[in-house]
Structure formats: structure tokens, C-alpha cells
């Protein structure tokens, strides 16, 4: 109520200001609450939003969710991550086999898939795409997930123009029109997950060769997925229409999807309430906590709110080579002193408290969670054991983060928790994002590194290999905390090559326990969550990891 009172004088003023321009406001008839599905015969249209423009629609080049969501609708993967279970299922590939040594993967493609210009989708298109993604000239930001393919790393890291490479040495080959074979560097059970990724989806070579960078323009693009790209208005809207050449077109109910670029989440919410969009929050972070509080207290909105975990974790990084964080007891104390439940409930507003790195739903993620639990008494005891009873003699240390409303709130909460629970002073330092990344890179001299900093990770493919190995391996990853090699690193590498699922799960449990419970390389504190609003007539799945499949959505008449 108090919030409302201060609005009154301002409202009066606004009416005065507005009087000059709103002389004849004929009611805007068309923008009301009309449901998208009109009388029979009309196309069924759904309007969704994205907080950022897709940076590309080229599968070989995509790296952010804003690009991957539309790409998912336009291009078929070898496999698809089931929106309900998150497990890879057949898509372009009907079946696949692995050789006994785990090195040769053979995918058998379905024969009824065609490109929107009528050409059949063949194994040659897969081979072309993988080669294109790996070629250094393509400059694909995700080429590294293909490094498990034979010779991919060597070819991709060729320094041009001084060195040369032979693309035909790459471990991918179209055996015949509908069989594609991959040779791997080492056995990798997680290749099945990777085969669902956008980076190696078949692309139309003839279109790329004709139009170059402009091949993804609506006038030129040729696709093979459930939807066609009809329009792309920069910073405004992308329009998709059902693809009549898609082999399962009869299973697609929604004829037209409009993807509106709305970069402000409060505006997104207002447009949802006014009925201008049918789904909000699908391609964005979770709503800000103030908006969430309002949504939850509103009878209509709260019934339309869908929440769940997103395969993404936020954590505090420690510079393990810099005192006092070279002492594992200090790191343990700082991790245990974070009140994770409060963070999730009162600061972020959604999500799941985390003590390990990979969230549930990722293959190999320990369940129940391992790592260091929030425990103030234990935290105090560890800090005392490290030689700083009740924080005595502990130097002032720095926590660095990048400027954003949420990150600032999180940083202040961390600072307060460390002060209250450990009686230590932590200085906060905020930076613009690229400067922040540059200032916390693994190559920064240790004197210039902050003692602690903010980091996060989101899954590329749902397997622990993408987490503990690709992020924290002491030599094969960026290893931002500068950890020395231990048994955990060997085990993380070995788990990727293990072919027995049960064994892999157990190995990853040990790695998570060692890295975040014993060595405390970083302190994971929450797994991010999604908050999506969908009108009651929309029936769909809310995948934790996979991009949404619009072809499985339904509009109830």
C-alpha cells in the first residue's frame, strides 16, 4: 500500500504531461486478450519471447541459448534430447552402434528426411557439417566439444596461414548416403549426448557455398527441421512457420511461432499480462525476485507459473595459489559459511541450493548431492583450525564479480554471510563483463588475481564429462582456480573413457566429492532455476536442459 501512495502525485502529473498527445485514444482493438487460436481454418499461432537476439542461426557457429532455441526448430540433430527425460532419443539417426573398443560410432540415418528445397538429407551433409565446424577458418566457438573426434583438435588448432591441415584426416565419414561413421580419439560414452548438439547438425553445403555468411537470411536459408524461418527483423522478431517437408509434419500442431525480442524482463511480464505473448521467460534467466514475488501473490499468474531446475550452477571461485586461500581449511570454512537456502529463497527467488558442481539430471551427477554443506559451527571450527579463530588475523580479501543486478545482490549477501558467520572482511569489486573475464583468466598473474570471484557453468550436453572434466581438469581445461593435479583429475579423465554406465556414475561421485568436498577448488552454492509463464491453453514440456521442441507443443482449442 505504501508503495502505491507515492505513485498518486506522479500519476496526476503524468496525466497532465500526456494530455498533449493522447487526445483521441481510440481503443486498440486488436491487441487485447484474444486467444491465438481463432476460428477453424485460421493458422494456430503462438507468440513467445527471447531476451536477446539470436547471435546466429548457423548451427556450426551457435553458442548461446538465444541462438540454440531457434536452431533446434530449424535443424535436426542426429539425436534429440527428450524434453521430458533429457535422454538422447533418435531424431535424424534411427539407430546407432558403437564398436567393441568404443572408438567407432556408426549412425544410421532415416531415409525420409528432406531439406526444405527438396534435396534428401544424407550422411554427406553430416560429414560436411562436422568438417566445417572443425576447420579453423570457420572459427566456431564450440569446435572444442568435437575434439573427441579423431584429429579434430590438431586440425582446429592449425595456425593459418603458416601451417596447413588435411581435412580428410578428420574422423568422420559418410560410408554411404544414409550411414555416417565417427572415429574417436578415445572411448567416450558421452558421444551419444554430444550427438544431439547443434554444432554437428547437418547443414546444406550448396546453400552455404552459394550465399556465404548470408546463407541463414530468411530468403536463402534451407532447413530440415519442423519449422521454416519466414522472417527475421533485427532486434524485433523472428517468424517461424510449420515446414511442409518435415517428415513428421502431421505431429506438428502449431502453424506459426513468433519469437519476439524483448530485452527487459519487466516488459516481457507486462506483454504477457496484456496477452501480447503466450509464453514468457522461456529464453531468459529467471524473473527478478521482485517480479517473482508479485507473480506468486497473483492468483492468475501464480497458476500459470512453471518452475524447475536449469542445468546450470553458480559458484565462488578461489585462487588456490594465493594465501590465505592456499589453505584448504580456509576454503572449506568459506564454503560452509554460505547460507545456501537463504541465497535461493531470499536473494535469487528460485533455484536449488548446491554443494556439488553438476545438478541432478546431468548423467553422473551424484544424487544425493555431495560436497560441503552449509554449517556455521563447522565453518567457524575450520577457520579456527586454519589459524584464524573467530576471524582473528584474517586479512581483508577481495571478491570480484561482474555488474548485474542479481550478481550485486548475491555478492552483498555473500559478504554479509562471511562477515556474520566467520567475522572476516571481504571487499567487493564489480567490473563490466568482458573486463571481469579478462581479469580472472587463468593467465592473469597471481598478484593481480582477486582471492575469490564469481563464476558459473551451464551444460552443453547432459553428461558429467562436460562439467568436472571440461571445467576443472588440471591440464585439459582452463582450470581457473589453478588447482594442482590430483587423483581427482585422473579419475575425471578415466570416467570419460569408461564404457560401463554404473562404473562411470560411481567414478563421478568420487570426483565431485574430492573436488568440492575435500579439495574445495570452488564453492558451488546454487543451481539456477527457470521461471516460465505460459497461458493455460499452452500444453508443453519444461525441459531442465534441452532446448524446447515447439513441434511437441499443443494449443488446446
Amino acid at each position: 500500500m505504501r508503495k502505491f501512495l507515492w505513485l498518486v502525485p506522479i500519476l496526476g502529473l503524468l496525466l497532465v504531461l500526456a494530455a498533449g498527445c493522447t487526445a483521441a485514444p481510440a481503443p486498440a482493438a486488436s491487441t487485447g486478450d484474444a486467444a491465438p487460436q481463432a476460428a477453424s481454418g485460421e493458422p494456430i499461432t503462438v507468440r513467445v519471447s527471447t531476451i536477446a537476439e539470436p547471435s546466429t542461426l548457423d548451427p556450426n557457429l551457435a553458442e548461446d541459448t538465444y541462438s540454440i532455441t531457434p536452431i533446434e526448430q530449424l535443424f535436426l540433430g542426429l539425436t534429440n534430447l527428450n524434453n521430458e527425460t533429457g535422454v538422447p532419443e533418435p531424431e535424424l539417426a534411427e539407430s546407432w552402434t558403437v564398436s567393441d573398443d568404443g572408438l567407432t560410432w556408426t549412425f544410421n540415418l532415416r531415409k525420409d528426411a528432406v531439406w526444405s528445397d527438396g534435396n534428401p538429407v544424407t550422411a554427406k551433409d553430416v560429414e560436411y557439417s562436422v568438417k566445417r565446424a572443425v576447420k579453423p577458418e570457420t572459427a566456431s566457438p564450440y569446435a572444442y566439444v568435437l575434439y573427441l573426434i579423431k584429429n579434430a583438435q590438431a586440425i582446429n588448432q592449425t595456425v593459418l596461414p603458416t601451417d596447413t591441415y588435411d581435412i580428410d584426416t578428420l574422423g568422420v565419414k559418410a560410408v554411404d548416403d544414409y550411414t555416417v561413421q565417427f572415429e574417436l580419439e578415445a572411448p567416450a560414452a558421452y558421444f551419444e549426448s554430444i550427438s544431439s548438439m547443434w554444432t554437428l547438425r547437418p547443414v546444406p553445403s550448396w546453400v552455404i557455398e552459394e550465399f556465404g555468411d548470408a546463407w541463414t537470411d530468411p530468403a536463402n536459408i534451407v532447413v530440415n527441421g519442423p519449422y521454416l524461418l519466414k522472417e527475421w527483423k533485427p532486434a524485433e522478431q523472428l517468424v517461424f512457420e510449420k515446414n511442409p517437408t518435415y517428415f513428421k509434419k502431421d505431429d506438428v500442431q502449431i502453424d506459426r511461432v513468433e519469437l519476439d525480442v524483448i530485452s527487459d524482463q519487466n516488459t516481457e511480464l507486462a506483454l504477457y499480462e496484456s496477452g501480447d505473448i503466450d509464453v514468457a521467460g522461456d529464453n531468459a534467466g529467471s524473473f527478478p525476485i521482485e517480479a517473482l514475488t508479485r507473480i506468486r501473490s497473483d492468483a492468475t499468474l501464480s497458476a500459470e507459473l512453471h518452475e524447475g531446475p536449469r542445468a546450470s550452477t553458480t559458484y565462488v571461485g578461489f585462487t588456490m595459489t594465493k594465501p590465505p586461500f592456499d589453505n584448504v581449511l580456509v576454503r572449506k570454512a568459506f564454503s560452509a559459511a554460505i547460507d545456501r537456502a537463504t541465497m535461493v529463497k531470499d536473494v535469487v527467488g528460485t533455484g536449488v541450493p548446491a554443494t556439488q558442481f553438476a545438478p541432478k539430471g546431468i548423467f553422473g551427477a551424484p544424487d544425493p548431492e555431495v560436497g560441503i554443506a552449509s554449517d556455521v559451527e563447522q565453518a567457524k571450527a575450520w577457520l579456527a583450525e586454519a589459524g584464524y579463530p573467530d576471524g582473528e588475523g584474517f586479512p581483508t580479501v577481495t571478491y570480484r564479480y561482474f555488474s548485474s543486478t542479481l550478481e550485486e545482490a548475491l555478492a552483498q549477501a555473500l559478504q554479509a554471510m562471511w562477515k556474520e558467520n566467520l567475522n572476516v572482511d571481504v571487499q567487493l569489486e564489480s567490473m563490466e563483463f568482458p573486463a571481469f573475464l579478462a581479469s580472472t583468466a587463468a593467465t592473469v598473474p597471481v598478484e593481480e588475481m582477486p582471492e575469490m570471484w564469481r563464476l558459473g557453468w551451464g551444460a552443453d550436453y547432459p553428461d558429467e564429462n562436460n562439467w568436472v572434466y571440461e571445467v576443472f581438469h588440471c591440464t585439459d581445461s582452463q582450470n581457473r582456480p589453478c588447482a594442482e593435479c590430483t587423483e581427482a583429475d585422473e579419475l575425471a579423465k578415466a570416467a570419460g573413457r569408461e564404457t560401463d554406465s554404473a562404473k562411470r556414475i560411481e567414478m563421478y561421485r568420487q570426483v565431485e566429492e574430492m573436488m568440492f568436498g575435500d579439495e574445495v577448488r570452488v564453492a558451488p552454492y546454487y543451481h539456477r532455476g527457470f521461471t516460465i509463464l505460459a497461458k493455460p491453453y499452452i500444453e508443453r514440456a519444461y525441459p531442465a536442459f534441452a532446448p524446447p521442441n515447439w513441434d511437441t507443443w499443443r494449443v488446446n482449442q
Binding site: T22, D276, P434, L455
Partner: protein, 313 residues
């Protein structure tokens, strides 16, 4: 007048080199690069920077950029992969110009009468009200005013669309209705400044002898105001709106975000935070050109308003 125009346009050449040179060097001196992402391994970043020639010395990159710019090729965006920056900036500019002109129209439709009324009723309630409104107009930021207008006129009264853009080709009312709230948000602060400037300037002119003479001759008050006083009082306002127009018609990040409008203003900010060098350069060039043109228009307007000012110097 032709000499004035030619001289001003020739001035654009040194302006161009100074502005682009400084921007280029400053941008490349900022820490972090376009391909630095939380998740991209350093080897990948290196590889991509090589592919886009970012490993060359900065001066060399600048000359390459100059060569391309001379052929009106501002290059592909680094953040929006492979797309020419012009493909984003030109449609954005077209939208921003429409919105900016509407905002200016609103600002003058409100600001000029308010300033005139305040000046004529100096010290009385009309003056105080106008001053109060002007102060509020200047001090309420767009990020507060915008959502407030959305809430009142979009959600509560349901008179106007909440946000988003409709081109004129979709019809006049859809176009206008989507423009009103953002134009008010963008124009509110300007209208307040225009009101204050008009008031101050008019008060000064009203004390001049020739105005007293005009009144003494028994001319109607309105005629004195419109023909004699306002014309001279306009000079400081015209001076002010030159650079202001340039700023307004190239867009505003806040208004574009609040109203989900595909204008050009966003690129002023996002291109820098994403270290999208070609986009930054193109934005700076467009802005410099608009400023030069706006100032030129002001100079031409002076000649019409005040015959004493001419291009002879």
C-alpha cells in the same frame, strides 16, 4: 548559404578521422575481447581472433577498417556472427528517427506553451505549476516514467499497447498507438528543458525596448508575442536542439528496452559491452554524421530566424 554548407561538410573530414581514430584505439585498449566468454577455452578465443584479424597491430587494423569504410563496408558484426552491421543499424536508425521526431514534437508541443505561459504569468500560480512540472519532468528518469506509463495506459486503462513496434505499413493507428508512450517517455525530459529555456529566454526578450514599443503602439498581445518576442526568444532554443536532435533520433537504450522497440540506441551500449568493434565504429560514424548534419541545420535555421546572422561571418 551554399558556402556555409560546403564548409561544414568539409569539416566532417577531420572530425571523422579524429572521432574514429580515438574510438578505435580506445576500444581496442579496453580489457577483454569479443570472443571472451565464460565458457570458451582460451585456445578457441585465440583461434577466432586470428580468423578475424584481431591479432594484427591496432594501427594496421585501423587502416584496414578505413579502407573498407571508404567503400562503405563497415564489416560483419563480431557479436552477431557474420551479419553486416549495416543490416542492424539502418533498420534501427529508421525506427529511432521516427520515435525521436515524435518525442521532439511532443516536447515542443508541451514545452513551448508551458514556457510562454510561465513567462507571461511570471511569479504567479501558472508559473509555479509549470516550473514544478518542469522539475519533475527533468528529474524522473525514463526507466521510472516508462514502466509507469505502461502500467497506467497499457495495463490498467488498456488504452494503448504495452510495448513493441508496428511499422507505418501496418496502418496509421497501429503505428501511432505504439509510438505514443515511448515518445512521451523520451520527450518528457526534453519538454521540461524546452519549457525552462523558453521561459528564461522570453522573459529576457520581453524586457527589450522594442517589445515595449510594440505594446505602446497598441498591438494585440498575441501578435507581439508570436511575431516579435518569440522569434528572438527561439535562438537559444534552436542552439540547444541541434545536438539534442542528434541524440534523440539515434535512439535511447532505456526507452528501447522498456518498450521493446527495435531502435538503434541499444547498439551504443551493447556493442561496447560485447566488444563488437565493427559495430562500435559504425555507430560512432553514424552518430558523428548526424551531429554534423544537425548542427548544420541549426546554422541554416539561424539565418531564417535572425537576419543579422549570415554566413558571411
Amino acid at each position: 548559404m551554399i558556402r556555409l554548407i560546403v564548409r561544414r561538410l568539409l569539416w566532417f573530414i577531420p572530425v571523422f578521422f579524429v572521432v574514429t581514430g580515438i574510438t578505435f584505439v580506445t576500444m581496442h585498449a579496453l580489457p577483454g575481447g569479443p570472443f571472451d566468454k565464460e565458457k570458451t577455452p582460451p585456445a578457441m578465443v585465440q583461434q577466432m581472433e586470428n580468423a578475424f584479424g584481431l591479432n594484427r597491430p591496432v594501427y594496421e587494423q585501423y587502416f584496414i577498417w578505413l579502407g573498407n569504410a571508404a567503400r562503405l563496408n563497415f564489416g560483419p558484426s563480431l557479436a552477431l556472427r557474420g551479419k553486416p552491421v549495416a543490416g542492424f543499424l539502418l533498420p534501427g536508425l529508421a525506427v529511432s528517427v521516427q520515435l525521436g521526431i515524435m518525442a521532439l514534437l511532443f516536447a515542443f508541443a508541451v514545452g513551448l506553451p508551458a514556457g510562454i505561459i510561465a513567462a507571461y504569468h511570471r511569479g504567479r500560480w501558472q508559473d509555479r505549476t509549470a516550473t514544478l512540472v518542469a522539475i519533475l519532468g527533468v528529474s524522473i528518469p525514463a526507466i521510472v516514467l516508462g514502466p509507469l506509463l505502461v502500467w497506467v495506459f497499457g495495463l490498467w486503462l488498456d488504452w494503448l499497447p504495452v510495448a513493441q513496434w508496428e511499422p507505418l505499413t501496418e496502418g496509421f493507428w497501429p503505428w501511432l498507438s505504439h509510438l505514443i508512450l515511448p515518445a512521451i517517455t523520451l520527450g518528457a525530459g526534453i519538454s521540461a528543458i524546452v519549457a525552462r529555456l523558453t521561459r528564461a529566454s522570453l522573459l529576457q526578450v520581453l524586457n527589450e525596448d522594442y517589445i515595449r514599443t510594440a505594446h505602446a503602439k497598441g498591438l494585440p498581445r498575441q501578435l507581439v508575442t508570436m511575431r516579435h518576442a518569440l522569434r528572438n526568444a527561439l535562438i537559444p532554443i534552436v542552439t540547444y536542439i541541434g545536438p539534442l536532435t542528434a541524440a534523440v533520433i539515434t535512439g535511447s537504450l532505456v526507452v528501447e528496452q522498456v518498450f521493446a522497440i527495435p531502435g538503434m540506441g541499444r547498439y551504443f551500449v551493447t556493442s561496447i559491452t560485447s566488444r563488437d568493434y565493427p559495430m562500435v565504429m559504425a555507430v560512432v560514424v553514424i552518430y558523428a554524421m548526424v551531429i554534423v548534419l544537425a548542427n548544420l541545420s541549426v546554422d541554416i535555421l539561424y539565418i531564417f530566424i535572425d537576419p543579422r546572422i549570415s554566413d558571411a561571418e
